[in-house]
């Protein structure tokens, strides 16, 4: 288990960067600065980040930005991207209308 306070001390304070306005998650309009800042607020896993900023929660479900978010978090945390805990994969894996999902009757035939 990572000691959040220790890790925050280790990575130092949030320093604004030149590319902070860059959009990373296009579906939910989350910027690089917001992601970097969230790391300094103690968000260390992709799952937490999704719940915190809604990155990767839009139409493409993180298919485009997932790797980018991970890369930004890894640089901020000074670790390899593979060390960042990925988001949980859960259904529905593809965008689907609520009315169709609501009609899902399980295995009734």
């Amino acid at each position: 288990m990572v000691d959040i306070q220790e890790k925050l001390k280790e990575i130092g304070p949030f320093v604004p960067g030149a590319e902070d306005d860059l959009l990373i998650c296009r579906c939910e309009e989350v910027t690089k600065g917001e992601i970097r800042k969230a790391v300094h607020e103690g968000i260390f896993t992709v799952e937490e980040m999704r719940r915190y900023l809604r990155n990767g929660m839009g139409l493409c479900q993180g298919q485009t930005c997932g790797r980018l978010v991970k890369g930004i978090m890894a640089r901020e945390l000074k670790v390899r991207p593979a060390e960042i805990e990925p988001a949980t994969a859960r259904a529905p894996m593809r965008p689907i209308e609520m009315r169709i999902l609501a009609e899902d009757g399980g295995d009734r035939e």
């Binding site: 930005c65 529905p92 894996m93 009609e103």
Partner: protein, 529 residues
């Protein structure tokens, strides 16, 4: 709940191959694909594939796709289109959205062959309309016959970036530059050489600073990067473009496997399931094949799919263990052949300095996209002799050998080792038929007559552009670097069914230019020399 022997998720090369293999052994598989057409990326591939006969080398990707579909149909594989799988559960239950309904189905085995999606890189302006993936450009051109743009900058020098750049030029777009942050070209040298001789400049150790435009892309600035990928001051270059294509790698779409509880591994190439050689994951009965289990290419995906299909047939008791092993051995041999050579998985990211034959690799090819004049003579396929003869500018060890079978006269030899460089067989007589030129998937073979008449010679080159030049037409000959080497005249332009749309263009050039002229442009307006 409806039950199937095998549920295949994804109807691309891996999924279709697996379902067909399983059906051959008596299973009743169903393939779910979220697209309106099956075949995955195969139907976008208009270039000839590499490999040997058993890998369907020198056949164009979309034709391989058609063969695969025919075979799947013959064995009664049920292919369900517009069917998006939205969930996969450890007990091998699949939820799939078909039309207005979510259906639950169960498979005795499930194979995930969902492929991969394109990576993106970010820079100011990357969300502007006009910044697209190379795969999207290919879909627009090759499936929908829509030009992706007029003036295009390609980011990425892997095989996707190189192949798509060539196709964009074929479609009539202008590729103004091919850019890669890496120091060396990532894809096959022959693919790079094809693009370089069209006059596309390569900018290695460069990347995009920003895309310009308010409503859409109107320009792009690139700059050189240092060892740490930081921009070097004073190296900015600007291009007027309307489109920026990104070919910066693929990531496996492995979320379904993760959801099903398969053990996953986070690699630099993306999140992939931990599986054995047959594609079996940590969850019994759930398998993975193709790009979803690690990015490769379509030829290996098809073999991986077949291996999984045979293994699943045995897992469900349709074939004996001996039967499975025999089939596995046969397929693994074919797969191993594809994973040999300079671009083998274990050589990824390594700088090889010599070929298997001990010849120095062309550094110019790796840095600028073409083999320099002072380098080309050292390769065994490049020889001089009286009369017409093949000149094979094949300089890297890649698993490919159609040229060897193409020559009825036995002029060309690769030998048993599929990755060896082709050599001209001493004493064999070239009749100038050009079958070797048309058969080379890398378009690296030329027929040269160093002196067909006093002071002049001819060069026959592979030509896949329209309109076709006509005999007697005057133009300029371009060198390997795409700049003008001399004026020339078209002697002939031959098309034949056996050439499969690779036309053989013969140009007459001054005798001292026969080893320099490698492409043709009509008129002189493209002159850059």
């Amino acid at each position: 709940m409806k039950r199937y022997d095998l549920i295949v998720i994804g109807g691309g090369p891996a999924g279709l191959s697996a379902a067909t293999e399983a059906a051959k052994h008596g299973l009743h598989p169903v393939v779910f694909d979220e697209n309106a057409r099956p075949g995955g990326q195969l139907f976008k591939q208009i270039h000839k594939f590499f490999g040997s006969k058993e890998h369907k080398a020198k056949i164009r990707g979309f034709q391989i796709g058609e063969e695969l579909l025919e075979e799947a149909e013959k064995y009664g594989v049920e292919v369900c289109l517009n069917a998006a799988v939205i969930g996969l559960y450890p007990e091998k239950e699949v939820t799939v959205r078909i039309g207005e309904e979510v259906k639950h189905v169960k498979g005795d085995a499930v194979l995930v062959a969902t492929g991969a999606s394109e990576n993106m890189v970010t820079f100011p302006g990357w969300t502007l309309p006009g910044v697209i993936g190379a795969g999207a450009a290919q879909t627009m051109m090759n499936l929908h016959h829509v030009k992706a743009g007029e003036k295009i900058l390609m980011l990425g020098s892997g095989n996707v970036g190189l192949v798509v750049s060539f196709q964009l030029m074929q479609a009539g777009c202008e590729v103004v530059a091919l850019v890669d942050a890496a120091k060396r070209v990532g894809g096959y040298g022959v693919h790079a050489a094809k693009v370089a001789r069209l006059g596309v400049p390569f900018y290695l150790s460069h990347t995009i600073v920003e895309a310009e435009g308010s409503d859409c892309v109107t320009g792009v600035t690139i700059a050189q990067v240092d060892e740490k990928f930081q921009f070097i001051e004073g190296t900015k270059k600007h291009f007027d473009v309307d489109t920026i294509c990104m070919a910066v790698g693929l990531s496996p779409m492995s979320q379904l496997l993760m959801q099903a509880g398969c053990k996953m591994e986070d690699t630099p190439g993306g999140c992939v399931p931990v599986c054995d050689a047959s594609g079996a994951t940590s969850v019994p009965g759930i398998y993975a094949a193709g790009d979803v289990s690690g990015i490769e290419e379509a030829s290996s995906a098809m073999i991986e799919g077949r291996i999984s299909g045979a293994v699943i047939a045995e897992y469900l008791g349709y074939i004996t263990e001996e039967g499975k092993k025999a089939r596995e051995r046969e397929l693994e041999e074919a797969l191993e052949a594809l994973r040999k050579g300079m671009f083998a998985p274990e050589n990824r990211g390594k700088l090889l300095e010599k070929t298997e034959e001990g010849i120095d690799i062309s550094m110019n090819l790796l840095e600028k996209g073409y083999v320099a004049e002072d380098e080309i003579e050292r390769y065994p396929g490049v020889t001089h002799m009286a009369g017409v003869h093949p000149v094979m500018e094949c300089t890297q060890n890649i698993p490919c050998n159609p040229c060897q079978d193409a020559c009825a006269k036995g002029c060309i030899s690769i030998g048993k080792n599929i990755t060896s460089l082709p050599v001209v067989v001493p004493g064999a007589e070239c009749i100038g038929c050009g079958m070797c030129v048309a058969s080379c998937s890398g378009q690296a073979i030329f027929l040269v007559d160093e002196e067909s008449e006093p002071g002049y010679g001819t060069v026959t080159l592979p030509y896949e552009f329209l309109p076709l030049p006509e005999a007697g037409e005057k133009g300029i000959a371009l060198g390997r670097d795409g700049t003008k080497v001399c004026d020339c005249e078209v002697v002939s332009c031959k098309s034949a069914k056996a050439f499969d749309h690779t036309n053989l263009l013969t140009i007459k050039v001054p005798a001292d230019m026969t080893m320099k002229a490698r492409f043709y442009k009509k008129g002189a307006k493209f002159c850059q020399a």
